[in-house]
């Protein structure tokens, strides 16, 4: 044989057929190539990290979108570079019978996780927007990933936090128009609504006491969605084997709307002068 014919020829079991000079070249080329790929991969990794800066008002950009596994259109397959999916090659999905790892998140991980959540929500409690293409018409395609939840390396498809509703798109819309790539011809969506990313603080009666819930559980009845094994680091429970969360973690009667604020919150609403700020 005269030279490498197929990529397989680079494998060590073919080595004896090459003289040392050519082998040296090939090893050198391989090293350079590996270094180059490593460098590019490194840059990509960094880019991703910069993209995930924790700005609550950060928009999900198209670049970010590219990191999710999009199926190519058939007519594109000829030319497509599969670079988008490189990080998903041989993903390590947790083996079914492996005992659940108990991970205690750090404060920083928690803050990062909360910021990541905020990117897809107008305020705490808003339905998240969808950071990927969707089937315009059916709920079944949503359910294929979000019914059980899915975690492939960095890609998380959270388990639904609420009971099954038939009409997913009633509340969840795409973060941008993925199909026609439509953009508004004017910056009309500029808006300085500032949603609260934290509606209430979680409190502990003493060091070591179970924290109270800092959010409503309506539409978030399934704690596993965020706090279970497919949740983000920092939000995951340190004790996922416990099944009855409300046994220890108290809800807020006000956030759960069991206690009405109606009458007491705005006692001056009829006498307040327009130029005055509400009493506090």
């Amino acid at each position: 044989m005269s030279g490498p014919q197929t990529p397989k020829d680079g494998h060590s079991d073919h080595l004896p057929q090459y003289n040392h000079g050519r082998l040296g070249h090939i090893i050198l080329i391989c090293c350079i190539a590996t270094a180059f790929i490593g460098f590019i991969a490194g840059i990509r990794g960094e880019q991703k990290n910069t993209n995930q800066q924790h700005n609550p008002n950060h928009q999900v950009t198209h670049q970010q979108q590219d990191q999710y596994p999009l199926a190519p259109r058939y007519e594109m397959i000829r030319n497509i570079s599969l670079v988008n999916q490189t990080h998903l090659k041989n993903p390590k999905s947790p083996p079914k019978n492996e005992p659940i790892q108990i991970v205690v998140g750090t404060a920083q991980q928690k803050s990062e996780a909360l910021d990541q959540r905020a990117e897809l929500r107008a305020y705490q409690g808003a339905p998240p927007v969808i950071p990927h293409k969707i089937d315009q018409r059916r709920a079944e395609s949503c359910m294929s990933c979000h019914s059980q939840g899915l975690k492939l390396e960095q890609v998380i498809a959270p388990q639904m936090s609420h009971e099954y509703f038939n009409n997913c798109t009633q509340c969840h819309v795409e973060s941008t128009n993925f199909i026609l790539n439509l953009r508004s011809t004017a910056a009309l969506s500029q808006n300085d609504f500032t949603g609260k990313t934290t509606i209430a603080e979680s409190t502990r009666a003493w060091e070591g006491a179970p924290p109270t819930m800092p959010h409503a559980t309506h539409m978030r009845e399934n704690c596993i969605s965020c706090h279970g094994p497919t949740g983000k680091s920092g939000l995951r429970s340190s004790h996922p084997y416990r099944q009855n969360c409300t046994q220890c973690h108290a809800q807020s009667a006000v956030l759960e709307q069991r206690l009405s604020h109606d009458e007491s919150s705005f006692p001056l609403r009829m006498k307040r002068k327009p130029w005055e700020l509400p009493n506090d």
Partner: protein, 811 residues
């Protein structure tokens, strides 16, 4: 909240007691004794305060909890105490708080400089003065264009200002474009407007028929209320009769694609089958129905018809005959016939714009009521027709307050002397103040406004509140944009953001919106819903209701006699607890008293005539809305009504009657089943313009997008309008996904990207375009032909051609 409980009770009592309207007539003085519930002060959540409000968008009438901190809305939650939505919202509702905070809110009055043609800031005093003087020049040539998004007090104030003050009936709302045909349908069928049924039916129905209705996108919370029953193991069958495949179709058991306008033939075909197989509900039909046909000349209430004559006419609407007209197969039509012949099935018909924006809108409304009446599928839980509205208070403010060119509050009309006299008495006005001639309906009003005075355009000045006619009128070149050339016309617009209407406005008044003001809405199921102001409006934005009162007061100062009642008092006089007049026309005093409560208490007196008794204001404060008629029971509790005209559910039905249509047009407690034949619509595709064009909404945007396009999450999901087209049509004319095409009618044209197999899928020969996008206005293209009775235009069908712009994009 640092206020103690005692201070709170004091403040609440003070404010509740302070509203009453001064008048000589004792029947008018609003009750000043009120018992507010004593509420324990709830635990404190730092910062965020929560209060109820109905959602600002569609006619469903969901309640939201509004989270407020530092005078800003910071969060929204579905209201779990609300019977309508039970804690769930749609994506618009979850983001409703953002609508207040678009960066370009209008915050100061603006006047157009005639030389530079630019809008320039002026003071409020100046703005009110200019508006009043302009009206004073020729009060009879002034028109007020309002909205189904007006709160009830806003609409009531405008109504009283026009008909009681100016003796001018040129007041009409955008709801004319939205549900006028539903009104004429109810009136001519039952003799009184508004749905007799309620949303509870959706929880009980075995079958829901969607007549040209796409609730998955337009009334998502109601749609979920139906389809989520399936998750609970219940069976509910959906039948989608429409002109394109939608998200609703995807969840439907049967999809019957019909040719546009042929719903008339389909409804007749159902009745024909029931009669020919002798399986209609004879007892119900005999006891509770009369038959009716068009009179000559045509009138809303028509002429009597014998059952035999009716049977003879409807005979030809066999499934085979109607298959040819409608494109729906004879077997599907038989399926519908069999369904209505089965008394054991509970059937709800739902409809909204598909049947209302229809040049035979009254007729198709009559027919769907007729199908339910003659089959006896009427007035039982889960069994009956339910008409939906698109705006939050189309029912409350337009239909009940009667802010239409021909109407007076509480189901009265200007033509009837008796009704005018009742209003004059309740308003304490001199006799014969109210004009007996109906004013201009919407299309006519804008036609007159956009016609030069020299050639008969007799509306010179118009005040537009809470709506965007510059984008929502049909055929906007003719009905709105023509104004730009007419220097003698003066357009006053109260708005929250710059939009298509303010571009031609001469005077712009910045308005407070939603929870920046007190308000009351009335939803599609007769539910009256109250909320309080929770944040201050930005800059100098002020309440629409205040604007009307301030202009009226300025007119009184200028000497307009109509602004005074019989005793020489200002027609909007509001008294405090001691009987002293509160100067509510001065903004700094407007919130000294609850003007909403005062106006609503006055308005409430009007609602008894047609048995639409709304609940007292203070009851509404306590509830998440109440469905009228709201009647006090023996124990002193206020009870709402779920099913009207049904014994046991409706207190006004006499014992032993079973059903009683007590406002029957034939005075015999019977409803009317109408003979309404199919006839072609005014414009149909031809060789020159070969496609049907249908327009409508999408999930993310509400109406003309003035609010929702400024909400980041909604605008990013749906930034731009588009044209839906059938894949085979696209292939035939050589356009692909995303290619630009020109859609052109005899009236205008527009360039849009094509979306194939996207959100909706029209059949061959038909295209669909959403109308939310102010930068690409499809209403430049639509037709302004309207229903003869309701005067509601048809946005759902006209003829267009589609021209490719570019060759296919590089792949």
């Amino acid at each position: 909240m640092s206020l103690g409980r005692r201070e709170f009770i004091k403040a609440a009592a003070l404010s509740a007691a302070s509203a009453s309207i001064a008048t000589q007539s004792s029947s008018l003085s609003a009750s000043s004794t009120v018992s507010l519930p004593v509420v324990e002060e709830p635990p404190k959540i730092p910062g965020v305060k929560w209060d109820k409000a109905p959602c600002r968008f569609c006619g469903t009438g969901c309640h939201v909890m509004v989270g407020v901190e530092n005078d800003k809305v910071v969060a929204i939650a579905g209201d779990q105490k609300a019977a309508v939505n039970k804690g769930l919202l749609c994506v618009k509702g979850y983001h409703v708080g953002s609508i207040l905070y678009g960066i370009d809110r209008l915050t100061t009055p603006l006047l157009r400089n005639q030389k530079t043609n630019e809008l320039e800031p002026i003071s409020w005093d100046n703005a009110i003065d200019i508006a009043a003087k302009r009206i004073m020049q020729a009060p009879e040539r002034f028109a007020f264009y309002g909205s189904g998004q007006w709160t009830i007090p806003e609409g009531y104030a405008a109504q009283k200002f026009m008909k009681g003050g100016l003796a001018n009936n040129h007041i009409d709302p955008n709801a004319r474009l939205c549900m006028a045909s539903a009104v004429t349908g109810f009136l001519s069928t039952y003799g009184v407007d508004e749905p007799a049924s309620c949303y509870d039916d959706l929880d009980h129905a075995d079958v829901v028929i969607l007549w040209g209705n796409n609730p998955a996108e337009m009334h998502p919370v109601l749609f979920s209320r139906i389809v989520d029953r399936r998750s609970k193991g219940e069976t509910v069958k959906l039948i989608d009769i429409g002109t394109r495949i939608t998200r609703t179709s995807e969840q439907s058991d049967h999809v019957m694609l019909m040719n546009p306008h042929t719903d008339l033939a389909i409804a007749n075909c159902i009745i024909q089958q029931l009669i020919s197989s002798d399986r209609y509900d004879k007892e119900f039909a005999e006891k509770h129905c009369n038959f009716r046909q068009d009179s000559d000349p045509a009138g809303l209430f028509g002429a009597p018809m014998s059952f035999d004559a009716y049977v003879k006419e409807i005979k030809k609407y066999t499934p085979e005959y109607v298959e040819k007209i409608s494109g729906v197969s004879a077997s599907d039509l038989r399926l519908l016939g069999e369904l209505f012949a089965d008394p054991s099935k509970k059937i709800v018909s739902l409809w909204c714009m598909g049947m209302n924006q229809h040049t035979a809108g009254t007729a198709i409304n009559n027919l769907v009521h007729g199908v339910h009446l003659i089959s006896g599928h009427w007035g039982k839980p889960g069994d009956g027709p339910q008409s939906l509205t698109g705006q939050p208070s189309a029912c409350g403010t337009v239909r009940e307050v009667g802010t239409l060119a021909h109407a007076l509050p509480g189901g009265r009309i200007v033509k009837k002397k008796e009704h005018r006299e009742q209003c004059e008495k309740l308003w304490n006005l001199p006799e014969n103040r109210i004009n007996s001639k109906p004013g201009y309906h919407t299309v006519k009003m804008f036609e007159q406004f956009c016609t030069p005075a020299a050639t008969g355009g007799d509306i010179d000045c118009m005040f537009v509140q809470v709506t965007n006619p510059g984008q929502s009128l049909p055929n906007t070149h003719k009905l709105f944009k023509a104004k730009s050339k007419l220097k003698e016309k003066f357009l006053i617009v109260a708005e929250v953001y710059p939009n298509a209407t303010t571009t031609l406005a001469d005077l712009v008044l910045p308005a407070a919106m939603w929870v920046e003001k007190n308000g009351i809405f009335g939803n599609s199921e007769r539910r009256t819903q109250q909320w309080f102001r929770q944040v201050n409006p930005p800059g100098e934005a002020r309440d629409d209701c205040w604007m009307t009162i301030a202009i009226a007061h300025r007119l009184m100062e200028l000497g307009h006699p109509g602004m005074k009642d019989r005793d020489g008092n200002f027609i909007f006089r509001v008294n405090d607890d001691d009987g002293n007049e509160v100067p509510a026309w001065k903004w700094e005093h407007y919130y000294d008293i609850n003007v909403d409560r005062a106006l609503f208490s006055e308005y409430r007196q009007f609602t008894f005539l047609k048995h639409k008794d709304v609940a007292p204001y203070d009851e509404l404060v306590k509830s998440r809305g109440m469905r009228w008629p709201v009647i006090k029971d023996e124990n002193g509790n206020w009870r709402e009504t779920r099913w009207r005209f049904v014994e046991g559910a409706d207190k006004y039905v006499e014992k032993g009657k079973g059903f009683q249509f007590y406002h029957s047009t034939t005075k015999d407690d019977k409803a009317q089943v109408w003979w309404r034949p199919y006839a072609d619509p005014p414009e149909m595709p031809d060789n020159e313009y070969p496609f049907w064009l249908c327009t409508g909404r999408v999930l993310e945007h509400w109406h003309t997008g003035t609010m929702t396009r400024r909400v980041k999450q909604l605008a990013q999901a749906m930034p731009h309008t588009y044209l839906e087209m059938n894949a085979s049509d696209a292939a035939r004319i050589g356009v692909g996904q995303g290619d630009q095409v020109i859609v052109e009618s005899r009236r205008g044209s527009l360039k849009l990207p094509v979306w194939i197999d996207g959100r909706g899928r029209p059949p061959k020969g038909s295209v669909f375009v959403p109308f939310f996008d102010e930068l690409n206005q499809i209403n430049d293209v639509t037709l302004h032909a309207y229903d003869p009775f309701s005067k509601q235009p048809d946005y759902k069908k006209c003829a267009v051609r589609i021209l490719p712009v570019n060759s296919r994009k590089e792949l």
